[in-house]
């Protein structure tokens, strides 16, 4: 499928690379985002990469739509760079118990032990496909096929902040308390969104990779206390 442009009203254009969840498509989206950002065009307010498309929000009184369309199609030709610049993260998670009330159910539904589920998710290098839904909310993929489950039939009205959740091929961490229908496996002490860091408020970015590491509830509380006190932050979660 060749990239195509879709109208999102008169103040936004969507450059669509495909219609499915695919790491190669996502890498092309990010490459196009980088190419367009490098053009330093006046009148653009937001460049929003998604799973499979790039949405450009602009002011049509300041930038000509046809000229922008041509530049977008040019940017679409950009080839993904080697992921040397993407950041690799190690995110500690306390699995099961109060932190992950759905772990037992996920184990039962997949016919594995709880330890197998935890080991498998921690052994998987997950790609950050996009940030959306809530500020700093990362959509991660893809999980091993046997772990793919439909969403809960009844969504929770309040998923606790910092919950690690899965549905289908995807995993995510809720930076804020929110309604949600995904299966909750654990909780992380890591802060995913910090408004006091206005230059980089979101910890994760599309194209980054994430591995989870299991910590016990005691270590979880120690880390959460350290995060709250400002004693550990962004650099502590980088992969060695």
């Amino acid at each position: 499928m060749n990239p195509r442009l879709l109208d999102l009203g008169d103040g936004a254009l969507t450059l669509e690379f495909g219609d499915r969840i695919d790491a190669d498509l996502n890498a092309r989206v990010i490459a196009a985002r980088d190419a367009l950002a490098a053009m330093l065009l006046d009148g653009i307010s937001d460049l929003v990469p998604t799973w499979r498309s790039l949405t450009v929000h602009f002011d049509p009184l300041r930038i000509d739509r046809n000229a922008l369309s041509a530049q977008l199609l040019q940017a679409a030709q950009a080839m993904p760079q080697e992921s040397a610049l993407a950041t690799r993260w190690r995110i500690p998670v306390s699995f099961g118990g109060e932190s992950g009330p759905d772990l037992a159910q996920v184990a039962q539904a997949t016919g594995r032990s709880e330890a197998d589920v935890v080991d498998a998710i921690c052994a998987t290098e997950l790609r950050v496909f996009l940030i959306g839904f809530l500020p700093g909310f990362p959509y991660l993929g893809e999980l091993p096929a046997w772990m793919h489950l439909p969403r809960r039939s009844t969504p929770r009205t309040a998923v606790p902040a910092n919950s690690l959740a899965i549905a289908g091929a995807q995993a995510a961490i809720y930076p804020w308390q929110s309604p949600g229908g995904w299966h909750l496996l654990g909780q992380t002490p890591v802060r995913l969104f910090d408004v006091s860091d206005a230059a980089r408020p979101a910890l994760l970015a599309p194209g980054d990779s994430v591995r989870f590491t299991a910590v016990d509830p005691h270590e979880f509380r120690r880390l959460a206390t350290a995060v709250a006190a400002g004693e550990c932050g962004r650099d502590d979660w980088l992969a060695p």
Binding site: D7, D10, D42, D46, T50, R52, H57, F137, W176, P201
Partner: protein, 342 residues
Amino acid sequence: MIEVVDCPLPASFQDAGRPGYRHLGVPLSGALDPEWLAIANALVGNPPHTVALEMRLLGPKLRAREPVTIALAGEFSARIEDAAGQSHPAANWRSHTLAAGDVLAVGSLRSGIGYLAVHGGFDLPAVLGSRSTYARAGLGGIDGRALRAGDSLKVGAPQGLPAVAGATGIPLHLPHAPVLFAGPLRVIPGPQRDHFTDAAWQQFIGAEFTVSREADRMGLRLDGPRLTHARGADIVSDGVTPGAIQVPGDGRPIVLLADCQTVGGYPKIATVIGADLPRLGHALPGQVLRFAAVTQAEALAARRDAAHVLATTLAAIAAPGPALDLDALYSANLIDGVIDAN
């Protein structure tokens, strides 16, 4: 300082919102009607995007702890009661100076939304470049939440023009209240027009829809004909924007507004043009909406017209005092308030 005596319905602080952070999942937010926000601010001498209080249906009751000049943009039934208990109506579309101890009862609102601006603006911290309240993530406003009784609102230092015309002491006023255009909401088809049958499209642009009770700053769910998908009701999420009309599996359209999420997984049959977003923001439950398709050229012309009308309106407010530069207002692009990211 202004004290909130009573606040029966949610009210939020809004300015031009948070452009430049949507790639991080941060909604745009900002005033549903940036034109009326600009008018409210102009009436107290503030720059157009200064943070003001946005209200629906019913406004709060506020007590001035020190002299303060305010203005109401909207069809309110406001009254001012002084410390001696004397009360008089407070006209809309003009500035009023409250003495210490005066109580402003903003009252009920006949327009869908309205704004209260204060000379100098509300002194609130900017979060990611904006003071707009986004309660779902606790951003902006007062600790990221809706206004409530007992809050104390600090007034900022004046940055714009005086709130009265020169040394005359005459309050600034708008000679004629702005009129909201009543025709169909103009839309650009897509981005997923091809996910719907032609019959569904004809229904969409031919039928009347009613705003349901599920209506807030994130969006309006509409009642009316169910729109039939041609290719299923789920897409792999892509970008959305205020004005986008997404149609979930039940066929009932949802028109997205300022606090909408940044991406969405339902097909979008059409998107309301920028020039019509302000009046869309006034829609209340029970209101009938119609849609009409336009071209990009028509949408652009409508934006230019709207910018010109607003500049003329703002210039009329300032008329008693020093003349404003119309061209400068026009080129300042008051409609979107979009700033460059990076």
